[in-house]
Symmetry: C2
Subunit: 237 residues, 2 copies
Amino acid sequence: MLTEKFLRDRTVSLEPAERATIEGAISEVLTLGARHIIVREGERLDRSLLLIDGLMCRYIDNRQGHRQLVAMQVPGDFVDLHGFPLTKLDHDVATLTGATVAVIPHVALDRIVAEQPQLCRKLWFSTLLDAAMHRAWLFRVGRLDAMGRVAHFLCETEARLRAVGLSNGHRFALGLTQIDLAEICGLTNIHVNRVLRQLREKRICIFRSSVVEILDADALARRGEFSSHYLYLTGGD
Amino acid sequence: MLTEKFLRDRTVSLEPAERATIEGAISEVLTLGARHIIVREGERLDRSLLLIDGLMCRYIDNRQGHRQLVAMQVPGDFVDLHGFPLTKLDHDVATLTGATVAVIPHVALDRIVAEQPQLCRKLWFSTLLDAAMHRAWLFRVGRLDAMGRVAHFLCETEARLRAVGLSNGHRFALGLTQIDLAEICGLTNIHVNRVLRQLREKRICIFRSSVVEILDADALARRGEFSSHYLYLTGGD
DNA sequence: CGAACGTTTGAGATGACTCAAGCGTTGTGG
DNA sequence: CCACAACGCTTGAGTCATCTCAAACGTTCG
C-alpha cells in the first residue's frame, strides 16, 4: 500500500475508501536519485508527488546562494500538493536522499475536489499541516538560539518519523549532513558542528549524519522548547 | 461590499457569484479593540474571520514570553481560515490595531466545500498564500541580516497593501510599533530602532509607527532581497 | 590512488544582544 | 486641566553568540 503513511496517526485521517481513491489516482511511481532538483520555482505544475521513501526538501536561495530550507519532507508527506491550488510554486523542491515518489496528476485531484468534498478537505488539511510546520520553523529560527534550534528540529523530526513508523522514540535513520542541518536552522555548518558536539558531550543526543540517537528525550525537548501539538498527531498533547 | 478586498489582484480571483456567496456566509460584523487576543492556541473553532479593516497578527510565544509573529494580516485577509480544516490552531490570533472583522461560521464553509468545488479551491488557495508568506518569512529570519529583514518586511507589506488599495507605492499607513517589527523580524526592539535610523539616514525609508514612507523603493527591495512572486499578484513578476 | 565532499578545530571579527538611562507622547483620573 | 503613569522611542557602553577565514582530517567512491 503506497499511501499507507499519508495522514497516518493524525487527528484527521483517511477512510479506507478515500485511501483507495488516492491510491487509484497514482499515475506512476518514480525512483529519484539523491540531491536532485525536482521542481523549480515558478514552473507550471500538472502533478504532485507523494513521498513514499527517502527524504526531500523545499528551499529558497538568497542572492549569494545561501540556502534556507523551508520544509523537510518525510515518507507519507504530500510533497508539493501546494502546487495544485497555487499552480506554480514560490520555491524549489529537491531530494535530499534517494527517494521513491508516487506521481498524482492534477486532473485526478480536480476530480476529487469536484466529487469528494470530504476527501478534498483532508487534502486541504494536509497542506495546512505544512503551514503549521512552517510556523513552528519560524518560531525556531526567530526565537531560539543555535542549540535550541537544532534540538527543536530533532524533536520534530523524531515525532514525525515515529508517526509513520520510522522511529522508535530513541533512534532513527536520518540521511542529513551537517550542512543540511545548518540550512534548516539558519546557521552555518561550522556552528552546527559545535552545537552537535555539545549535545553529544551533554549526553542528550548523538547525530551521526545517518543515524540520530536520542539519549535524553526530555532534555532535548526542554532545550528546544518543543511541543508536538502543531503536528496534529493522534494522542498528542 | 465587505469582501471586496479578499483575493483582490491575485492570480486566482473570485467570480461575482462567488463573492456574493461569501458575502452571504457572513453571520455578523464585529469591531475589535487594539491589542486583544481573539483566538487562543488549541481552542476549538466554529467560525473564521475575514479582516475588513485594521491589522491583526498570529504569533507563537516562547517559554520566557518572547514572541515570534508568524503572520501579519491586512484588510482582505481571511485571518484564521486555517482553523476551518484544522479545527483548532497551533498559535494565537490577536489584533494589532483596532479592527473590523466579518464572522463566517464554519457551517457555511461546510456548505461551500460540499456544493461549490471551484470556490472551495479558491479558499484553499488563499490559505496556501499564507503558507507561501510563511516561507518568505522563514527565508527572511533565516538568511537575512537585521536591515535586510526589516527591508524585506516593509517591501512585502507595501506590496500587500497596494494590492488592496491601501498604498500608493510610496507611502502607507501602518500602525505597528518598533516592538511589533522586532517580533516580526526575530530581532530586539532596540536593534530595530538602530536599523530604522540607518534606513532613514540612507534616505531609503522612513518608518514613523503610523506611516511608512518609501523614498527609494529599488534600494529597499535590493537590501531586503525582495521579489513579490510569492504573493501571487496579478501582473507580478 | 586521488578527488570530492563532509567533519572538526582554532583564531579572530562582528552583528546583534543586554543592561541602563533618559526622553517624548498619550491617555486618564483627580 | 494638570499631573502622573504607562508606554514607546532613542542612545550609549559593554558583552556574547555566531560568523568568517583557514587548515587539517576522515570517508567514500570512481
